[in-house]
């Protein structure tokens, strides 16, 4: 898949992957640094996300109202996000408003105000969401899953924090977190847009050039290792199940083989083993999936489904049986060719709009690939054999190593 990426460098050596857009007068930008919730102290969980939410709540001489109005005057979409391993953001603007958009983003990235009234207002917004999550089954499952899988490690920090941790965060905490995360050392920027090369380089330098270079304290690597079944009671008619296993990280040699294996087991098509057996044959669920989630400090496979409480045990038994089967019996030629053809053919679908292209390029940058990897990626998939798939199934799909979280009132658990 050819993507016409040009690599640009700013005066202070910030790398930009740029795809020039020729049809529509707009610009889509994605950026991130290494940081995020896994770098937080547990008692300050959620501070990065809280900080990110405040960057468009006043910067420079502009208070929150003035900043928001200026953005909306030009229909600029500026947002910030936090994940377990990263902190970053997005910008979308019409080309005619580029100078305004980059000016406002530069203010947010260099002189956020962290005004006390904005802090309290955003704190209440975060609290409202956290309160809802207390009884929201997917939120309960996610929280329990990560805290079991990575006990005592930063990856267990809930990315949005808890009511208890958010309550104690101060302006100092937020400012310190901002300082800690804003580093050029791990910054990656991807842009798809109708803009001149020289202009873009200047704008990126304007936004990020003043950032320091200190690297946030690295989080140590950790293997997914916890197993067992944990029930979180909730009075709902279904059980929401989330399960996981150790899996390779992105740059490990066997990643692609495990990627194909995962697709056969629970990837997003109706031909996946789990979709067939749990939904099509038995009618037990509306959706069931597995996907690989490679981070830089750990690698795992996560899966999930929801079914009525009376059928939760049956559904999980089918999941375990299918895992055993994939490890025990080599996949036949037609099935593996179809899986590979899907993964290869559908790759292009990611590159049909600016936001998606920018996001995919950013991910490649984060994983340490070069732009021509988009041409190489499908060859790597082609090379995967049925033997490779079975080997990965044997290594990964140990039903007794499953960590399972069940939220609801599952019968028989």
């Amino acid at each position: 898949m050819k993507t016409n990426v040009k690599i640009l460098k700013t005066a202070s050596n910030i790398e930009i992957w740029w795809v020039k857009e020729t049809r529509l007068p707009l610009i889509a930008l994605e950026w991130s640094v290494i940081g995020g919730s896994s770098t937080e102290q547990p008692q300050k969980a959620g501070v990065t996300s809280f900080m990110a939410s405040l960057l468009d709540e006043g910067a420079g001489d502009l208070d929150a109202t003035a900043f928001q109005e200026q953005m909306e005057d030009s229909a600029i979409e500026l947002s910030f996000n936090t994940d377990r391993e990263s902190f970053g953001g997005s910008l979308k603007t019409l080309t005619e408003n580029a100078s305004e958009a980059f000016r406002l983003m530069a203010l947010a990235l260099n002189a956020p105000r962290f005004d006390q009234d904005a802090i309290e207002r955003v704190r209440e917004q975060i609290n409202a969401g956290l309160r809802r999550n207390i009884t929201q089954p997917n939120a309960i499952a996610e929280e329990a899953f990560w805290s079991e899988a990575y006990k005592n490690h930063g990856l267990a920090n809930p990315t949005r924090g808890t009511l208890a941790t958010i309550a104690k965060l101060t302006k100092q905490d937020l400012e310190a977190t901002f300082q800690a995360n804003k580093s050029k050392a791990t910054l990656k920027v991807a842009v798809v847009g109708m803009i001149e090369e020289a202009e873009l380089i200047d704008y990126i330098e304007q936004m990020f050039g003043q950032w320091g270079k200190t690297i946030i304290k690295p989080v140590e690597a950790i293997a997914f290792q916890h197993k067992g079944t944990h029930v979180k009671p909730l009075k709902i008619p279904q059980t929401i199940l989330q399960f996981g296993l150790k899996a390779p990280m992105r740059r490990e040699e066997n990643f692609m083989a495990s990627f194909v294996m995962n697709h056969i087991l629970g990837g997003g098509t109706f031909q996946a083993r789990l979709m067939k057996e749990v939904r099509e044959v038995r009618g037990l669920t509306y959706g069931i999936y597995t996907h690989l989630y490679p981070l830089s400090t750990t690698g795992l496979m996560i899966g999930g489904l929801s079914t009525k409480n009376e059928k939760a045990l049956e559904a999980m038994n089918v999941v375990r049986e299918e895992m055993d089967k994939l490890a025990a019996v080599k996949v036949e030629h037609d099935e593996i060719e179809s899986a590979k053809n899907y993964l290869i053919g559908s790759y292009a679908l990611r590159f049909d709009n600016s936001n998606s292209i920018a996001a995919n390029l950013l991910r490649l940058m984060r994983d340490g690939f070069s732009p021509d990897y988009t041409m190489q990626r499908n060859n790597d998939i082609k090379k995967v054999s049925a033997n490779d798939v079975q080997e990965q199934a044997k290594v990964i799909l140990h039903k007794d190593n499953l960590l399972t979280i069940a939220v609801g009132e599952p019968e028989g658990f």
Binding site: L24, S74, T135, Y342, A348
Partner: protein, 421 residues
């Protein structure tokens, strides 16, 4: 000059409409068939049948056994899905343009030759019940939204959930599915939309060779839904549930849709909605969140695409120790103050809506979605293409004339609360 996409509209001999939206940025096309039937066209007592039929359309025809279409899409590197709305049902694939004709062959086949065995019907009914549990029954706020909708439209079928009521889903059978299928799934009740890296001439050629071979239906009935009497009293639907940790207020109105409104009216409502509650510079956010410290969040939205009336919803999340009644009062005060709308606010709203129409052109699937839903709800190609221009021309008077639509006695509120302490 607002950039506007180029589209080509035509019709096959059997009445099927064909819309081509070229976008040559990537070797991808979006192939969609839209049927002019949705949950609002269901027979009383058979709620959920339009959506159930959508599920059953994947269970094979007399020519292609269950799963073959899906396996083919996958093998060719494509993705597929479908969805059911109040006013339409649509099926689509995203795939390389090299396989467009194959998609049309399968899609046209299942328009007329659905097979369905009892086992598949039974299993899929279980799947739909799990879907209902997952989307609605697990979640008090989703259940409350259903109740509020049912009160807002107590005669008109928009008040019935698209997925159906649980007890009615349980009774749906193969005959019910075929009744809808034979009645509504016809080329002269369908629109084909192909967006992406395609040429119009070739799309028409393929369409004639596939869909063009199907006979039109003679007995298509015009859409006829029970009308909803005007509301002149406010009602509140109250739900208390032990799982509610965060109270929430919503207030819903029935207002003219893009299809039922007078000229320029729905564009004026679009602008009013943005000014009232479209973002952090909006009246609701500024008043309830920033100035009065009553809410953590507040806003509104207007869903203009509907064959009959449209929905306008205001929402607010109270801060601790603030009651939902206090929020209701603050909302009414804010609505009354809309008479003071100024030029800056109008300019900002127009900038936003025009920008959205440009951003939409960046993604073929978005354009296909917009055109499909508009064509299915009584609008024309020109209506869609000229929308941004019409928005730009709306005057302050036209906007303020819509304020009366938001009088409290025309609405239904939903109050989501924890158990009484």
């Amino acid at each position: 000059m607002i950039p506007t996409e180029t589209v080509h509209m035509s019709q096959l001999a059997n009445g099927m409409k064909v819309l081509v939206i070229p976008d040559h940025r990537a070797p991808v096309c979006t192939h969609m068939v839209w049927y002019q039937v949705g949950s609002a066209d269901e027979e009383v007592g058979k709620s959920g049948i339009a959506h159930f039929l959508e599920h059953l359309m994947f269970k094979g025809t007399h020519n292609n056994k269950a799963g073959l279409f899906g396996e083919t899409v996958t093998r060719l590197g494509g993705q597929e899905n479908a969805f059911t709305g109040n006013d339409y049902t649509a099926y689509y694939q995203r795939i390389s343009p090299d396989h467009l004709k194959t998609m049309m062959e399968f899609e046209s086949d299942r328009m007329r030759h659905l097979a369905l065995n009892e086992e598949d019907v039974r299993t899929e009914r279980d799947v739909v019940l799990e879907e209902r549990r997952q989307r609605t029954d697990n979640d008090p706020s989703a259940k409350l939204y259903e109740q509020m909708s049912n009160k807002l439209w107590s005669h008109h079928p928009y008040g019935i959930p698209i997925i159906g009521w649980e007890d009615e889903i349980q009774k749906l059978n193969r005959e019910d599915a075929f009744e809808v299928y034979h009645q509504y799934y016809a080329p002269n009740n369908a629109t084909l939309i192909v967006a992406g890296d395609v040429q119009e001439a070739q799309v028409i050629e393929f369409a004639n060779a596939t869909y063009g071979k199907l006979e039109p239906s003679q007995n298509l009935k015009p859409r006829k839904r029970t009308s909803e009497p005007a509301r002149t009293s406010h009602e509140t639907v109250l739900m208390r549930d032990e799982k509610v940790m965060q109270p929430q207020l919503q207030r819903a109105y029935r207002v003219p849709s893009a299809n039922t409104s007078q000229k320029g009216q729905s564009e004026a409502i679009d602008l009013l909605s943005y000014i009232l509650g479209g973002g952090s510079s909006s009246r609701l956010y500024k008043s309830l969140v920033m100035e009065q410290g009553l809410a953590a969040n507040a806003g509104c939205y207007y869903q203009s695409t509907a064959y009959d009336e449209a929905r306008f919803v205001i929402y607010a999340t109270p801060l601790e120790n603030i009651t939902l009644e206090q929020l209701e009062d603050a909302i009414d005060t804010t609505i009354k103050a809309l008479t003071t709308i100024c030029e800056d606010e109008i300019k900002r709203a127009k900038t936003r809506l025009v920008a959205e129409s440009i951003y939409a052109q960046d993604k073929q699937a978005t354009l296909a979605q917009i055109y499909g839903s508009c064509l299915m709800t009584g609008l024309s190609i020109e209506d869609v293409q000229q929308w941004a221009h019409r928005v730009k021309a709306i005057t302050k008077q036209e906007i303020t004339a819509q304020i009366t639509l938001l009088a409290k006695n025309k609405s239904v509120s939903s109050h989501l609360l924890p158990l009484e302490s």
